[in-house]
């Protein structure tokens, strides 16, 4: 790492999910806000430990579901009753019971798209690159490593104090992550 390059943050490794969760709670209590933890699987209770607000994904899905519902009804009412009404075996043009299956399928389809794309929208993915990948250890976050990163953008950021703080809460390794490729 060249001395001139900016630091993205400090990455600290912890031994296991319990230590990571305690560390996240300590970091939150110390007042840091720009930090994240990395783990191979979701850890139960971590959202509270980090002080995250509940995910808003449900609302995105609900809006998509409503679009599917209204769109499905509109499509069938318009095509069967307005655009080109055809008399089919004595059935009414507005045969609502018969419109249920397609409307239902469209609600599910639109909600699923809303979930899928909403997930990526909220996670700001896909991303071609992220400074965290400059770390020499982060690839273990998808295997058996448990990491916590405090970003330099945090209002409380002070490189040495942050390193001392992370060491004091039991980090096993500490690594500085550069903003640009080293």
């Amino acid at each position: 790492m060249t001395p001139s390059s900016n630091t993205y943050g400090i990455l600290a490794e912890f031994k296991n999910p319990a230590d990571l969760m305690d560390a996240a709670a300590s970091v939150r209590d110390a007042g840091y806000t720009r930090f994240d933890v990395f783990s191979p699987f979701p850890i139960h209770g971590m959202d509270d430990a980090m002080g995250l607000k509940p995910s808003k994904l449900g609302w995105i899905v609900l809006i998509h579901g409503i679009i599917g519902l209204l769109g499905g009804i509109a499509l069938q009412v318009w095509s069967m009753d307005i655009a080109y009404p055809v008399h089919i075996s004595g059935k009414p043009y507005l045969n609502f019971p018969a419109f249920v299956p397609v409307t239902f399928a469209l609600v599910i389809l639109l909600s699923a798209f809303g979930t899928f794309f909403g997930l990526f929208f909220l996670s700001k993915l896909p991303k071609l690159h992220h400074p965290i990948f400059h770390s020499n250890h982060i690839e273990r976050a998808t295997d058996d490593g448990f990491f916590l990163c405090i970003e330099s953008k945090d209002p409380l950021w002070d490189k040495n104090k942050t390193i001392d703080f992370l060491t004091s809460i039991g980090a096993s390794t500490i690594e500085q992550i550069p903003e640009e490729s080293p």
Partner: protein, 459 residues
């Protein structure tokens, strides 16, 4: 002591694995040299796939007369195969979505695998309605597209509901599968050595880092998708059964069809998962993850759904008699003792008698017997759809118009060819993708729970 042996017994992952060894166990498979059996199996699948392609071209070139269809039997093996393959697919969604909502941790060992099976089975299924229309160049008429005739599809028709249901099912299953794959693709990206394979896995991992700010939305998304897939899977086979039940043909026009079809779908799908799983766990040495306990649990589901199907067969007969409709009574007596009695009794033997072995714990945990019965059940379920489709059409209201259906070689080879389609994709999946949901398996290990460490510190 007794407590620790109890926990060992209840563990979902056997063999004292830690996180790293679970990662290795699964992520090493796509990195190893491709085994010789894979090339042989893939070659055979490709030949069958080419044969399927040839048969489809033959059909499109000549028209659906190359099948054994006639008057009055206008639906034969095409619809039988369609319903059979869709039904197989349903087990994957049941495992991935319904068992997820019921917090069944054991599903993590098999869900990836079963979801892949779902997607490929639905591909095989979707082929048949597409090609059975005869004039496939006009297939876009099934979609509500503005066109020069200004006509729209008939939304009163169950056949159109089917288009929407199966298309939605395929799309949602694929999205669900891919969302589940992302963390594991990131694991593969971080594990593989080759430059191009790193890029390939990396692109599809979409930059996943394992960040908890992502996991938070991810878990929510997974739960919502499971919640969406659950009613969807029930509705899909319900709508498939409407293809029959909404008509007025004796033997089809019954309200028991939707639940009975869904139970049958789960029944045959679990059998198919077992067939594939028993081979795969052996070939890839995954006995620690896909354990004998999994096989036993799945056999219990097979026993339950098998008896539901058996109950439905009995209930159909009862209602035919109790309803007092002459044609309905005839349709069922004719099914069991008419010209298709051979097919009916194969169905009863395979679907009702065969699963009764699983009342006995020893048989539920016997791998050889399970493998054999899983194939028997799938044969039985194919015959169920054949019996339903063909017997009712062959002998309906007017004896003067009765007929008999015999398949041609095109029918047979098209069906066999769909196995080529299925296994081509399935083998590619086994070769290149993590076949077990690595992150989910880790999540159900006791070491994943922070409480595990706190309790151990106290002792």
């Amino acid at each position: 002591m007794s407590q620790s042996s109890d926990t060992q017994k209840d563990l979902l992952v056997k063999g004292n694995h830690d996180f790293a060894s679970v990662t290795r166990l699964i992520s090493d498979i796509p990195q190893q040299k491709t085994p010789a059996w894979w090339y042989i199996a893939f070659g055979i699948s490709n030949i069958l796939l080419a044969m399927l392609l040839g048969m489809v071209i033959l059909l499109i070139w000549n028209g659906i007369g190359v099948w054994g269809l006639n008057q009055p039997v206008g639906w034969g093996w095409d619809i039988t195969n369609f319903v059979w393959w869709v039904g197989i697919g349903h087990a994957g969604t049941l495992i991935s979505a319904i068992l997820f909502l019921f917090r069944q941790g054991w599903r993590t060992a098999i869900n990836r695998f079963a979801e892949a099976m779902t997607i490929f089975a639905v591909m095989c299924a979707g082929l048949f309605p597409a090609i059975h229309v005869g004039r496939i160049w006009a297939i876009y008429w099934i979609f509500p597209l503005p066109n020069s005739m200004q006509l729209w599809p008939n939304f009163n028709s169950p056949l159109l509901w089917d288009v929407f249901a199966v298309a939605t099912y395929f799309t949602v299953s694929t999205l669900f599968w891919y969302v589940g794959l992302i963390p594991d693709l990131a694991t593969m990206r971080d594990k593989v050595k080759g430059f191009y394979s790193k890029i390939a896995y990396g692109v599809f991992a979409l930059g996943w880092t394992g960040s908890n700010r992502h996991w938070q939305h991810y878990e929510k998304a997974y739960m919502i998708l499971a919640g969406l897939a659950t009613p969807l899977v029930l509705s899909v086979h319900t709508i498939v059964s409407f293809d029959f039940a909404v008509s007025i043909i004796p033997g089809w026009h019954t309200t028991i069809f939707p639940p009975y079809f869904v139970a049958g779908a789960v029944f045959s799908g679990f059998a198919m998962v077992l067939t594939l799983m028993i081979i795969t766990r052996k070939l890839y040495h995954l006995e620690d993850i896909m354990t004998i306990d999994h096989i036993e649990k799945m056999n219990i589901i097979i026993l339950v759904t098998g008896n539901m199907v058996g109950f439905a067969y009995a209930m159909e007969f009862f209602i035919a008699w109790y309803g007092g409709v002459e044609y309905e009574k005839f349709a069922f007596i004719n099914r069991a003792f008419g010209p298709y009695a051979w097919a009916y009794w194969i169905m009863i033997t395979c679907n009702v008698v065969a699963p009764q072995f699983f009342w006995v714990k020893k048989f539920r945990r016997h791998i050889g017997l399970t493998f054999f019965l899983s194939i028997v059940i799938n044969i039985g379920m194919w015959f169920e759809r054949f019996v339903i489709t063909v017997t009712s059409l062959a002998q309906d209201f007017l004896p003067s118009s009765w007929g008999y259906f015999s398949p041609t070689y095109v029918d047979v080879l098209t069906y066999v060819g769909t196995f080529g389609l299925f296994f081509t994709f399935f083998l590619l999946f086994l070769r290149f993708l993590p076949m077990v949901a690595i992150s989910e398996v880790k999540g159900v290990m006791p070491q994943a729970d922070p409480a595990y460490y706190r309790n151990n510190q106290k002792h």
